[in-house]
């Protein structure tokens, strides 16, 4: 359903444009903010916050009425998710004393990322078209296909990793880990540090880029399929089924790697 008068390239480029707002020369400017760090992707913020709040609302509603007796259907679903996350965290953390933040963090990341990924299953043109009718020129509905969103989560996890490393091993222990492994010799300190530094920084970068790349590519393929006219129907269906797997898998991988990184931070070598 490419809009008339647009080339395929134009259609794709138009769909990959965030709804951004920034302040320029004392006035609010929409969609003209390239290279300005102080711009905000309103669409990503809007959808991620709405989805996050729906997650909290749904789970909070169940949690408030949670009964240890026979659970309702919705409570069973929520409990299944919670037990799955709890088991993942429990299996990964070999040493029981762990921060009470980790399991709720994993749960929030899992469900939130899952919901954001699932936005990809809404046909690519629906929401942007509706927004266009309302006068909004650009709209991207999959927040996890925005590099800012995935990096925000990746960097938060990275900061938590460093925080727990220092808290569990002490500043000295963490420094020793960075400088005296894998080669326990003073002469190898620079080499060790370079190696461990890369390994450390690679964690949040790979975490963020993996999620972003998968969802961005998925979205792009939906757009390409949407260009095919009537042939898009079977293709769209096929890709949507396949994407269903990616939606769930990427949410799970992000959660699992977060848990693993934090578990590594808890473990003394």
């Amino acid at each position: 359903m490419a809009e008339a008068g647009h080339s395929a390239g134009g259609y794709i480029a138009h769909h990959l444009q965030h709804l951004t707002v920034c302040r320029q020369d004392g006035a609010w400017v929409w969609n003209e903010c390239h290279g300005n760090f102080w711009a905000l992707n309103v669409d990503s913020m809007f959808f991620s916050v709405v989805l996050g709040i729906s997650f909290l609302w749904l789970f909070g509603r169940i949690a408030r009425k949670a009964t240890s007796g026979v659970p309702g259907r919705m409570q069973s679903v929520v409990e299944t998710v919670i037990e799955f996350v709890d088991k993942s965290v429990g299996d990964t953390f070999s040493h029981p004393p762990r921060s009470s933040v980790i399991a709720p963090l994993a749960l929030t990341l899992f469900v939130w990322i899952f919901l954001m990924n699932a936005m990809d299953l809404i046909p690519v043109d629906w929401l942007p078209w509706a927004a266009n009718q309302a006068g909004v020129k650009h709209l991207r509905v999959v927040p996890t296909a925005d590099v800012n969103v995935t990096f925000a989560m990746g960097i938060s996890v990275f900061i938590l990793t460093i925080y727990y490393s220092i808290r569990m091993k002490g500043g000295l222990g963490f420094t020793r880990e960075l400088t005296l492994t894998p080669f326990h010799h003073w002469a190898a300190v620079p080499f060790n540090f370079a190696l461990e530094g890369v390994a450390l920084v690679a964690k949040p970068v790979s975490l963020s880029l993996r999620l972003f790349g998968n969802l961005y590519a998925g979205e792009l393929i939906f757009m390409l399929i949407a260009l095919l006219g009537v042939w898009q129907l079977p293709l769209h269906f096929g890709w949507a089924v396949f994407h269903l797997l990616i939606v769930l898998l990427q949410a799970f991988i992000f959660m699992m790697l977060t848990i693993v990184y934090l578990a590594q931070a808890h473990e003394a070598h």
């Binding site: 711009a39 992707n41 949670a66 919670i82 929030t108 939130w112």
Partner: protein, 164 residues
Amino acid sequence: MDFNLTLIGQTVAMIVFVWFCMKFIWPPLMAAIEKRRREIADGIAAGERGQKELAEARSGAEQILQEARHKAVQVVDIAHRRSNELIGEAKQVAVTEGERLVTAARAEAGNETLRARDGLRRELAALVVAGTGRLLGREVDARTHAALLDELAAEIGRQAPGHG
């Protein structure tokens, strides 16, 4: 893919969401799950305990039944023996009593016979005296001939058993 303020906005949103989840969602749900798990574990333990008790009670009942059967057999045995004894005793008593009755009857019959014989003897003696008087033509004074009459009676009595 420009980095911009969204990065910070998202971080803030994420911190708020995680905090909310940690504060209001995770603890009550985990508490409910743990409580239910404990209750189910207790229920299963209670069920197992009940089953064990049932099995014990069953074996106890079986034992009691066995004992009762054994006792019943014993009681029936004793009853049989006792009844046999009683029957035996009763037979003995009946036989003795019968014999006693027969003896008594025989004795009575003998006495009666003797008495009848005695009477007959006396009557015969009287008849003999009367007949003799009539033959002699005069009355035989019973008093005067008492000794004679008695002797006569004795004589008849001595001969009578011989004649039957």
